[in-house]
């Protein structure tokens, strides 16, 4: 086997390997990771976050605009503090509503941002005041049963 043939094959191998990595990066993975330097932080407090986890997506109108970076517990007010990291390209009004939603019946939980009408925009480290907790199935069933019982009583 002479030198040029070996060089050629190794070249083909290396290029194919790089192409495979590129394929994994672009086609399989999402390269547009929200990085620290081109994003800003928002804080939201919830009464109940249900099954929300770190790294869960933050969506507005169904589009991913950021991710949950941290979930803490506020021991004074007994609330959950959720830190969101939002892409710099997107700004939201002060009166934006943050709600915890579920994609599909058994799907993952995410935070949905509903933009309000305020002219002032949220900045880094700002707090979102309007929040809506996760829907807990047990509470929902409880409410349903309670409603049914009341219906029976009025009849």
């Amino acid at each position: 086997m002479n030198r040029t043939v070996i060089d050629l094959w190794v070249g083909v191998f290396v290029i194919a390997g790089m192409a495979a990595l590129l394929f994994l990066a672009l086609k399989v993975g999402s390269m547009n990771v929200v990085k620290t330097n081109n994003s800003y932080e928002l804080v939201a407090k919830f009464d109940n976050i249900g099954g929300l986890k770190v790294r869960a997506p933050v969506k507005s109108a169904g589009v991913v605009v950021g991710r949950v970076t941290d979930v803490q517990f506020d021991a004074e007010n007994f609330e959950a503090i959720v830190i969101l990291r939002i892409d710099n390209r997107y700004v939201f009004p002060k009166d934006t509503l943050a709600a915890i939603m579920t994609s599909g019946l058994l799907g993952e939980q995410y935070i949905g941002l509903d933009a309000g009408g305020d002219t002032e925009m949220l900045k880094d480290k700002d707090k979102i005041f309007l929040t809506q907790s996760a829907v807990v199935l047990e509470n929902l069933i409880g409410q349903f049963l309670y409603g049914k019982a009341q219906e029976g009583a009025t009849e």
Partner: protein, 262 residues
């Protein structure tokens, strides 16, 4: 009788420690003389050909079949929950995080690692290494270091090719054969797989496996008794030790990388 038994334990312990020390010194020497592997890049390219290019066929074919089996089995399980669109996520995450680096490393150990051990062991048995020393050529710089770097370079490329081929196999079975929706197959995959968390960690894993496999293979070859049985025993030990090392390292790396990530 008892004295001899205790002496046997002691001898084995001393031999074991001596071997570990020898392996460490050998590894450090390889790193020390690595300069040759890059100064005379032709030597390394030749070894990339033997351990990387010649492993391509087995890596590509196994990757394709592993991906196809993942597609079939994943579909069977996922469709009972009515979420067969998540097939792309299942196939890609299991390949990129685990199966790609690990299975490619196991194949690499048995395809290239054993060849490296046998080659160096035979070089030693036929006194080629001693002949080099006589000619003032350092066998570690001339023979061992290029093979080491060739393995370290080849391994991540092979793992990436394995993963890419496996995802293609999953796509073939899932989308083309069974008929899962193509758009949701790719888009769910893209939203679930992250470049830094998943793909880069897979690459780091495969680099570590490459270092472990080639270091073990080179050491076993260099340390092999210069006889026919010695070389065959060393080749067997290479495959067994490096496969076990890959699996153990995989557990440790996974525990560090993916702990606390859902």
């Amino acid at each position: 009788m008892l004295k001899a038994a205790i002496a046997g334990v002691g001898r084995r312990t001393i031999q074991g420690i001596w071997r570990i020390g020898f392996a460490t010194r050998f590894f450090l020497l390889v790193l020390f003389y690595s300069g040759t592997a890059f100064r005379r890049i032709g030597l390394t390219i030749r070894e990339i050909y033997f351990s990387g290019v010649l492993s391509l066929i087995i890596i590509l074919v196994s990757g394709l079949f592993v991906g196809m089996v993942l597609g079939l089995q994943g579909y069977e399980t996922l469709q009972t929950y009515g979420s067969e669109e998540a097939l792309g996520v299942l196939v890609s995450l299991s390949l990129v995080r685990e199966l790609g680096p690990v299975v490619a490393a196991l194949l690499f150990a048995s395809r290239a690692g054993s060849a490296i051990t046998a080659e160096i062991g035979l070089m030693k048995a036929t006194e080629q290494l001693s002949a080099m020393e006589m000619m003032a050529v350092n066998p570690i710089a001339r023979v061992v270091a290029p093979r080491f770097w060739a393995g370290v370079i080849s391994m991540p490329l092979l793992a990436a090719l394995f993963s890419a081929m496996g995802i293609f196999g999953g796509y073939l079975v899932g989308v083309v054969l069974i008929g899962v929706d193509e758009g949701s197959f790719w888009s769910q995959m893209q939203s679930a797989v992250e470049f830094e968390q998943d793909i880069m960690n897979g690459v780091i894993k495969s680099v570590v496996f490459g270092i472990a496999i080639t270091a073990i293979a080179l050491f076993e070859g260099y340390d092999a008794p210069p006889t026919a049985e010695g070389v065959s025993g060393a080749t067997t030990r290479t495959v067994v030790t490096s496969s076990l090392a890959v699996l153990a390292l995989d557990f440790v790396l996974t525990a560090f990388m993916f702990r606390g990530i859902s």
